[in-house]
């Protein structure tokens, strides 16, 4: 009668099945698709527009808008994790004795019955043949166990017994990855910060929650630069950052995309840039044309600056920046406002809307002023992260590559040679082998061993 299993035994059995592994992987793969098709971390309005109220409710209930952090997805990962641990322990308890035996031994009868057995004859004394075989086997496998039998001599050698551990290395690596991810989720953060040139901040904004987080030091953006290709696509952008700690400048470093700054476990990445909206432009190129002669002069100006014009008597002053310039009740958008002083001493207000560069010509004054170019201040878009789990993940990566390599390309191979007396002088040699994987490779290896023995 079969013994009734206890509940812990049943749970153990549930988790140590490969079927569970396969089903969990299928579920993980299938559900992962959802997050690539349905928008992640979007605003409620976006979901409502795409899927309607009913669809949105379902998305909320199952957290599909953030599915890779959803309870059910994490549960699948935890099941996989337990499954891997239990399976590995269960199998390792058996294979441990195989991997680390007290004494390596072999079963001669088992090798005699193998399908891959190759039998050939040697025309030498048995003792000489045994010596040849020992030399070849010792070179291609390793330490030889030699036993005398009634009819002759048997040799046994093996290699790569330790490679049976490979698959466990892969499993351990996955545990490392998941632990690293967990540590990152618990103790790390991902934030962003848009910093105007010249501005300083001691906090960043968490990407998901959009709340400020203190960094423990301040970052100042000294300068931002962007270079473009001829095609107009950005070539490179670079920020010069200074870290300020306790009111003192600690150090300054340039960061580029792919070349971040790392300080006290916090990583600062160059991720984007844009034109600063809060601060006034850095310099403005102004073009002034004398209408009677058509002569044009250009001036590189700052707000509040006054320049003498070429006639020696008139002057132009750039006064302010107006985001919504009003002209007779019409909003003309971004504009600069200045005053021009003619040689007769009269000051006239001029509006210079950016969208209409010929606007001032319509005033029909002595000079026509236009804004040629505005050098706006930039802000640098920084991504700021902290992830203390990343080292566990990297260890996992290394273990996974090593483990895969061992598992796929190495094997535990055993070789068995029996040398028996056949006729007067001749002897019969039989060679066979076992392997835990890649039987084809073993076959090839057996053939080369035969060739080497025959060549002796």
């Amino acid at each position: 009668m079969k013994k009734k299993q206890t509940i812990p035994e049943l749970i153990w059995q549930f988790f140590c099945s490969v079927k569970l592994t396969v089903y969990t992987l299928i579920l993980l793969a299938a559900t992962s698709v959802i997050g690539t098709v349905i928008l992640q971390n979007g605003a409620p309005q976006q979901y409502l527009k795409l899927y309607g109220q009913g669809g949105y409710n379902l998305i909320r209930i199952l957290s599909i808008d953030d599915m890779y952090q959803a309870w059910w997805f994490l549960s699948l990962l935890i099941i996989l994790c337990i499954n891997i641990v239990v399976c590995s322990i269960d199998r390792l308890s058996v294979t441990w004795k195989i991997i680390f035996p007290k004494k390596v031994s072999f079963n001669a009868d088992r090798f005699r019955k193998l399908k891959n057995k190759i039998t050939f004859s040697g025309n030498k004394e048995i003792s000489a043949l045994v010596k040849d075989c020992e030399a070849v086997l010792g070179k291609s496998a390793g330490k030889i166990i030699k036993e005398e039998t009634d009819s002759g001599v048997v040799l046994y050698a093996e290699k790569g017994r330790w490679t049976r551990i490979g698959v466990y290395v892969v499993h351990v690596s996955i545990i490392f990855l998941l632990i690293g991810a967990l540590i990152g989720a618990l103790f790390g953060f991902k934030a962003s910060l848009n910093l105007d040139e010249g501005a300083t901040s001691d906090r960043a904004f968490l990407s998901k929650e959009r709340v400020p987080i203190k960094l423990g030091f301040s970052i100042r953006c000294n300068d931002f630069d962007v270079k473009f290709y001829d095609t107009g696509a950005p070539d490179e952008f670079k920020s010069s950052l200074t870290i300020i700690e306790n009111g003192q400048e600690s150090f300054t470093k340039d960061i580029l995309v792919n070349h971040p700054l790392r300080y006290k476990g916090i990583n600062i990445f160059q991720s984007s840039y844009g034109q600063s909206r809060s601060s006034s432009p850095e310099s403005i190129v102004i073009e002034v044309m004398e209408r009677s002669t058509g002569k044009v002069e250009t001036h590189n100006m700052k707000l509040g600056e006054k320049v003498q014009l070429a006639d020696g008597q008139s002057s132009f002053m750039l006064q302010e920046y107006e985001p919504h310039f009003d002209f007779k009740g019409n909003n003309l958008g971004q504009a600069f406002v200045g005053t021009i002083k003619d040689n007769d001493g009269k000051e006239i207000m001029v509006g210079l809307p950016l969208r209409f560069p010929t606007f001032d010509k319509m005033r029909k004054g002595k000079f026509a002023v236009a804004v040629k170019e505005v050098e706006q201040k930039y802000f640098t878009g920084l991504q700021i992260t902290r992830d203390p789990g990343v080292w566990y993940v990297y260890i996992g990566f290394i273990l996974m590559i090593i483990g895969c390599w061992i598992t796929f390309f190495m094997a535990h191979q055993s070789f068995f040679i029996e040398i028996e007396k056949d006729r007067d002088k001749a002897a019969r040699i039989s060679l066979s082998g076992t392997t835990n994987r890649n039987a084809q490779g073993l076959k090839l290896k057996l053939n080369t061993i035969v060739k080497k023995i025959e060549g002796k």
Binding site: V22, L25, I26, T36, K190, A233, D235, V257, N258, F269
Partner: protein, 277 residues
């Protein structure tokens, strides 16, 4: 010689190689397969020259980057990896008949790159995010992975067309033994799996050094993980549950569909960090 000349002639030579292989199979002439093999090698040399020339040309244009930066370049490189892997397999196993199932893939990838009007063949400058030494390591490993799966897919097809009756008069009866098909498919999946693993890892390390996140569930990342999981299932079914033959071949085919989606589908249908190729 320019890279575009080299690569368009490569397309033609690969087409010729596939034709030889198919003809060898259809007319049961071993000699044609041999010609096909040598043609494939010539095409491969031409393909290599094309890639190197393109690399040099990008420096001459002042952009200076490895030719792995857009869809056209990646397809050309995909053909190259499948070709090199197949040449290695035929060299090792001396079974030229299986070239029928692989050489068309080599040709189709590069032909698609050349003939689809929506794929720009221009050498374009590198966006800042791609300027990293990781680009070369990441692209090469990923594409070796893809190539392994592509060749495994070609071999899997054999399961469905080889007649079960060894005495069958069908031309498909000449296909290699079941054991060899099984072995070859498995070896290719293993190769692909190892390189996909390294490819995902290099991508992940790169992402961490460029964006500060080693994993962000970007569609390309997610789909490569889905592919990885399908082939992990393949391994477990074969090694732990003893699956073989048709059933396992189906898993390999599903896996390759996931590869194709990771490669093309994500770029065309979904949006994300990998939209450049």
């Amino acid at each position: 010689m320019t890279s575009s000349l080299a690569l368009s002639s490569t397309t033609f030579i690969y087409a010729l190689a596939s034709t030889f292989y198919i003809a060898s199979f259809a007319f049961k002439k071993q000699a044609l397969a041999k010609i096909g093999f040598y043609t494939l090698i010539i095409g491969f040399v031409d393909n290599t020259a094309g890639i190197i020339l393109r690399w040099i040309e990008s420096y001459q244009m002042g952009y200076g980057h490895a030719p792995f930066a857009n869809m056209y370049e990646s397809l050309v490189f995909f053909s190259w990896t499948v070709a090199v892997l197949y040449i290695f397999v035929e060299f090792k196993y001396k079974e030229s008949i299986i070239g029928v199932f692989v050489s068309p893939l080599v040709f189709l990838a590069i032909a698609y790159a050349s003939f689809d009007p929506s794929i720009s063949t221009k050498i374009s400058p590198l966006i800042p995010a791609l300027k990293s030494n990781w680009l070369i390591a990441h692209v090469i490993t990923c594409f070796l992975g893809y190539a392994g799966f592509a060749v495994a897919f070609g071999f899997s097809i054999m399961y469905f067309i080889k007649p079960k009756d060894p005495a069958s008069p069908s031309i498909f009866a000449k296909l290699p033994s079941w054991e060899l098909i099984d072995e070859l498919t498995y070896q290719m999946v293993v190769f692909g799996f190892l390189f996909l693993t390294i490819g995902i890892i290099t991508g992940s390390v790169w992402a961490n050094s460029a964006w500060g996140k080693y994993w962000s569930w970007d569609p390309k990342e997610t789909w490569s993980l889905i592919t990885w999981m399908i082939y992990a299932i393949f391994m477990h079914l074969r090694m732990m549950r003893g699956w073989h033959g048709n059933n396992l071949a189906w898993v390999s085919i599903i896996g390759f569909i996931a590869v194709l989606f990771t490669y093309f589908g994500v770029n065309y249908l979904l949006s994300g960090l990998h939209s450049y190729g």
